[in-house]
């Protein structure tokens, strides 16, 4: 097994850009990642491309714009975990010696779909019953309140932290801080969630170049960041009662990543996690073992997960503030952690960051707690 490194990163500001061609939009971040790595295109062995709401064969469409075709291209769909799934596969291919260098990217342009919640499959039972993602996450939040005695306004504190971080990140979709009062004044979406408890829809693209130790040395890659471990799981199909407050698939994935990398929760300096809706962030503090069940709000209020704290969560602003263009999010998180570990993050830099986690889930499917979960651990 060879070590595998992030050798180059590409990320553009998330937002709403419906007038831009998706291929052009994504090609820019792939080119950015390639240039940053300094690795010539003819040495790229394989590519993984993700787009949940874009056209078929997005890999070919985008990579054709950067002269990177003829190699094996895998188009990887795994809901919000899509591009992180691509990273997981690319990591395995390089680690096992079947490739030296891989490109992974994710893109989605949700503005082209109009506004409102992302569409779910009409073949899915719950979706045919009118369920949309805010409704699913709101039921998690109501149950979490029931079990741990929280009030709806407690979730607003998650949004305030996310927006405060995003305000420092020039690539975030939302760059304006908000107050508790502003969150509480936004319109009700699905009780207890108001609009500002929900991640925005938008457009985004992110890319990474992964390389073996040998390739990193051969091309003199500057500041390579090692991938310590990757884990990908699907949720378990369970038509019966399951907990909506303790994510089994996320808990298991974090635990396995810690074991594989030989670290524990106390070693994690920063994490980019799947805060699609405000309560999710609190639930994942518990899944990461940053605190015990029911203690997440206290941990948030202690400042431990804010910039300057001991486990900074979502320094980028997270899905709530950086934005959540579905297939781009996993790769965007990995770009964010990589740049943090390279001490390149400017106003939202986490001091002395050495070990970081990227975590995405995804898939609103009847009978599944989550469709997929990918966790990637990066280290200096």
């Amino acid at each position: 097994m060879t070590n595998v490194y992030v050798a180059g990163t590409g990320l553009r500001k998330f937002g709403r850009f419906p007038e831009i061609d998706t291929r052009v939009f994504a090609a820019e971040v792939v080119a950015q990642a390639l240039r940053e790595s300094g690795i010539p295109r003819e040495r790229i062995d394989v590519a993984y491309a993700s787009s949940v709401f874009g056209d078929k064969s997005m890999g070919q469409r985008v990579l054709g714009q950067v002269g990177l075709t003829g190699i094996p291209i895998f188009n990887v769909e795994n809901a919000c975990s899509s591009s992180a799934s691509g990273v997981h596969e690319a990591f395995g291919k390089i680690a096992s010696g079947r490739a030296e260098v891989a490109v992974v990217f994710g893109v989605d342009m949700l503005s082209k779909l109009g506004r409102g919640a992302i569409p779910l499959s009409p073949d899915d039972w719950d979706a045919a019953n009118g369920l949309v993602m805010p409704v699913l996450y709101a039921m998690r939040a109501q149950r979490y309140m029931h079990e741990h005695g929280l009030r709806p306004s407690d979730f607003s504190e998650v949004t305030v932290k996310a927006r405060a971080h995003g305000a420092r990140n020039p690539l975030a979709q939302f760059q304006k801080p908000v107050t508790i009062e502003e969150v509480e004044a936004s319109r009700m979406v699905a009780n207890p969630y108001r609009l500002l408890h929900c991640c925005p829809t938008g457009d985004g693209a992110a890319a990474v170049v992964l390389a073996s130790e040998r390739a990193v040395k051969e091309f003199g890659v500057r500041q390579p960041v090692r991938i310590g471990a990757t884990v990908l799981h699907s949720g378990r199909y369970e038509p019966g009662p399951y907990s909506m407050t303790t994510s089994h698939v996320s808990t298991k994935s974090f635990r396995e990543v810690y074991e594989m990398a030989g670290v524990g929760p106390d070693d994690i300096d920063l994490a980019e996690i799947h805060d699609a809706f405000a309560c999710a962030e609190l639930m994942y503090y518990e899944a990461m073992q940053f605190c015990r069940p029911g203690e997440a709000l206290s941990l948030l209020r202690s400042g431990a997960t804010s910039l300057g704290g001991r486990h900074v969560v979502n320094p980028s602003g997270g899905l709530l503030s950086r934005g959540h263009p579905v297939a781009a999010s996993g790769a965007a998180q990995i770009v964010e952690i990589t740049r943090q570990l390279q001490n390149r993050s400017g106003a939202h830099q986490v001091a002395d960051a050495r070990i970081g986690l990227a975590h995405v889930t995804g898939g609103g499917l009847t009978g599944f707690e989550h469709g997929a979960c990918a966790v990637t651990l990066l280290m200096k």
Partner: protein, 126 residues
Amino acid sequence: MTSLTSTGHVHPAGPGLYACSLCVDCGYRNFPPTALCPGCLSERVRREQLSARGTLYSWTTNRVGEADAFVGYVDLPEGLRVFARILLAADTSQPQCGMAVRLKEAEAVIGKPHFTFEAAAAGSEA
């Protein structure tokens, strides 16, 4: 009595809408019902009417037609969970996790909850 109606023309569940599948070989119950058992891959599967009484696991609000309505996940004694519209007793303002509910209506209209439950006093007759 439980009122059960089905338009029967829109969803694979079709007639017998408020039903699960039960595997004759291993006893696995699946909802929505399937002809293939996920537990043991048997095709010896039959339909079984679901219990009319359940417990509200969690709830929220969602647009149903022109207005917001309460919706939630109802856990049934069969060990299954169904998404449903929730109607409250006249003297309550919002649902409670863990409250007893009973089926009021089942009707398949795409985009709306197919099942409607109403609050039920714990221990009362369905």
